[in-house]
């Protein structure tokens, strides 16, 4: 079972890391989809099937599509697809900062005693989740509805091209 966990982890991390390093935006997006699949696999491994489905649906199904649309909308020629490499200094400093954060997190994880009860993989049924959603978390459910409304409204307002706008900004 730990082997499965290690496999999933390596796969996910590797595809995420390569996605963040690749120069081609489309390739990056595809690798990120792979990494999101990896996360879904992890959720399955942990016994949270519903979350795994949600992950696939939302990330792989929706977010990646939005990203691809954005990529296509914001390029003017084929060359734009290939993102120029980040400047070396910026990449190095980013790596340095990332590594430092990683060291801090890892040290904290190793230094903290975590009581773990060796249990079998738990399960949680959709019915149980539903009861929780409609029960103690009803308020959160309402708020998420509002958040999605705002996001939709905001995205439409910001992204929509007004006629007057396009005239003003025509090159």
């Amino acid at each position: 079972m730990n082997a499965a966990l290690a496999f999933i982890a390596v796969l996910t991390l590797a595809s995420a890391a390569v996605a963040m390093a690749l120069r081609n935006l489309i390739h990056s997006a595809l690798l990120l989809i792979a990494s999101w699949f990896g996360l879904a696999a992890f959720y399955l491994w942990a016994g949270a099937e519903f979350v795994a489905f949600a992950q696939v649906l939302v990330y792989v199904g929706a977010i990646s599509m939005v990203v691809l649309f954005a990529v296509l909308l914001t390029r003017r020629s084929r060359q734009d697809l290939a993102v120029e490499p980040a400047s070396l200094g910026r990449a190095l400093s980013a790596l340095l900062v990332g590594a430092t954060v990683a060291v801090v997190l890892a040290r904290a994880i190793f230094a903290t005693p975590l009581a773990v009860a060796p249990t079998a993989t738990p399960t949680i049924s959709v019915r149980q989740l539903g009861a929780q959603l409609m029960g103690p978390h009803a308020a959160a459910l309402l708020v998420v509805g509002v958040i999605l409304t705002v996001a939709l409204l905001g995205a439409v307002v910001l992204a929509a091209t007004d006629r007057a706008d396009s005239k003003e900004n025509a090159p």
Partner: protein, 487 residues
């Protein structure tokens, strides 16, 4: 145990009226008023928004109190006071919007302001990590959109993108921190977390979680070194949006985080009353506060852009407010609430003045305010009240905010401990603050107007808004008990 839905809906009536107002504004605008000029559409939306805010205020005032829905929300005095404060600041922001340039989608603009207000209202009352996170995200997403609302200016888009990326990063840190807190305590209810933490003590992973929460807090409060977005957003965003981000958002953010830190993470607070206190989040907040005070005050001196000056002064005020949060463990939330609310009033007012001046042309440089006393004595007078309140000159409200916060901070251990030093630093730097506020006032009150500057006609609603803000500042300065009696 069946959930108390009735109680929940009773408690959420203010939010419901805000959302209802937003939907009505959108609906009317889309159906009946499509053909009207954008000015008329803005006015309609603003009136609907104002009514919704007033209705929400009535619901807050007469609504239920105490823990709601099994303690997910708490309507204690701090929550009620913050909700009322947020609603008042929203109302003033709507007033400022009457004076500013009409946005291209007026109904959407007002609706998103109301959505953001809903987020603030929930932030004020959340007592559970999940709801806190969602409320924060609701407010933040709305504010990103508001910052980028002016599509004709590249500065607006740039400000919004920077704000969004910075905020997204902060949200990621916050969520990671929350996940660690959940892991360490097995709960997302603040009271349960507090109970668990008193048993556990401070572990390294908890320190990481605390600091991640503080990162998000620093972002929301615009405290150094997590302030970098603030000057750019204040400068680039449309004026009412900037006013809203600077005032209501800050008040709600301080309430939310003070609640997370004090009742929730009290066991990990540590100690700053003496130099060799216990470790915890208090020393970290003290450092953020000191850095904000120094950086905000010094950088404000160098500004030639009045909005950036307000932004850096906001950073300095965030430092003083954090001092109030530090002291809240002993003195209760009243001091920092008073400070944040009156600061919000003065800031909305200052941006309101800028919005009116902007009607006659650009108002970015401090020198754009030259000769304001000739162009509009009312504006100059109001600006003087706002600036002097920010500078903490008695008897304006800003002074009593400072007084109560510093008095509370000194109670932690006199001048001998770091809290006392911070209070001392804040008091010493307020002389510097006076200097840069006087630079603005000198332009507005003393300098002659430029040759082509005309008289400024202040629209009636904006006039009313500014006079209300100025009047409240004087009123709360003369009678602080009006606000403090909410506690």
């Amino acid at each position: 145990m069946s959930p108390d839905y009735t109680g929940l809906f009773q408690a959420l009536r203010p939010e419901t009226s805000l959302l209802f107002g937003a939907l009505v504004a959108l609906g009317l605008d889309l159906s009946l008023f499509r053909r009207h000029t954008s000015g008329e559409r803005l006015n309609l939306a603003l009136w609907i928004g104002a009514l919704a805010v007033l209705a929400a205020g009535a619901h807050v005032w007469f609504g239920p109190h105490g823990p709601i829905f099994g303690g997910v929300l708490i309507l204690d005095p701090l929550a009620v006071a913050t909700r009322l404060g947020v609603l008042a600041l929203t109302l003033l922001t709507l007033g400022v919007a009457t004076a500013a340039r009409t946005p291209r989608n007026p109904a959407e603009y007002v609706a998103i302001i109301l959505f953001a207000t809903t987020g603030f209202m929930l932030m004020a009352a959340a007592q559970q990590l999940l709801l806190a996170f969602l409320a924060l995200e609701l407010a933040s997403l709305s504010l990103y959109v508001l910052a980028g609302f002016d599509k004709t200016r590249p500065e607006s888009a740039e400000a919004a993108l920077k704000y969004f990326l910075f905020g997204g990063m902060a949200a990621a840190f916050l969520l990671f921190g929350f996940s660690l807190i959940y892991g360490l305590t097995g709960s997302i209810e603040l009271l349960e977390i507090a109970r668990q933490l008193t048993l556990q003590g401070l572990s390294p992973l908890l320190v990481v979680a605390l600091v991640m929460v503080l990162v998000a807090f620093g972002f929301k409060a615009a405290a150094a070194p997590f302030h970098l977005w603030a000057p750019d957003v204040y400068e680039g965003a449309p004026t009412p949006s900037a006013a809203f981000i600077a005032s209501a958002s800050k008040l709600a953010g301080f309430t939310l985080f003070a609640r997370l830190l004090w009742p929730g993470l009290r066991a990990a607070a540590g100690n700053v009353s003496t130099l060799h206190g216990a470790p915890g989040w208090l020393p970290a907040v003290a450092v953020i506060s000191a850095v904000s005070l120094l950086l905000g005050n010094f950088a404000a001196l160098a500004q030639t852009n009045v909005r950036r000056l307000l932004a850096y002064s906001a950073i300095a005020h965030a430092g003083a407010l954090l001092l109030g949060v530090i002291a809240a463990g002993r003195s209760g939330p009243a001091p920092f609430f008073f400070y944040a609310a009156t600061y919000g009033l003065a800031t909305v007012g200052a941006f309101g003045v800028l919005a009116v001046v902007e009607r006659t042309g650009s108002c970015q440089k401090i020198t754009d305010l030259a000769g304001l006393h000739r162009r509009s004595p009312l504006l100059a007078g109001c600006l003087a009240i706002f600036m002097l309140s920010l500078a903490g000159i008695p008897p304006l409200a800003g002074f009593f905010g400072k007084f109560t916060v510093f008095a509370a901070a000194l109670q932690l251990g006199g001048l001998a401990g770091p809290a006392g030093w911070l209070a001392f630093l804040a008091i010493a730097l307020s002389a510097l603050a006076l200097y840069y506020y006087l630079i603005v006032l000198k332009q507005a009150l003393v300098a002659p107007p430029t040759a082509n500057a005309s008289r400024i006609v202040v629209p009636t609603l904006a006039r009313f808004t500014l006079m209300a803000a100025a009047g409240l500042i004087v009123l709360f300065g003369v009678a602080p008990s009006l606000l403090l009696d909410l506690f």
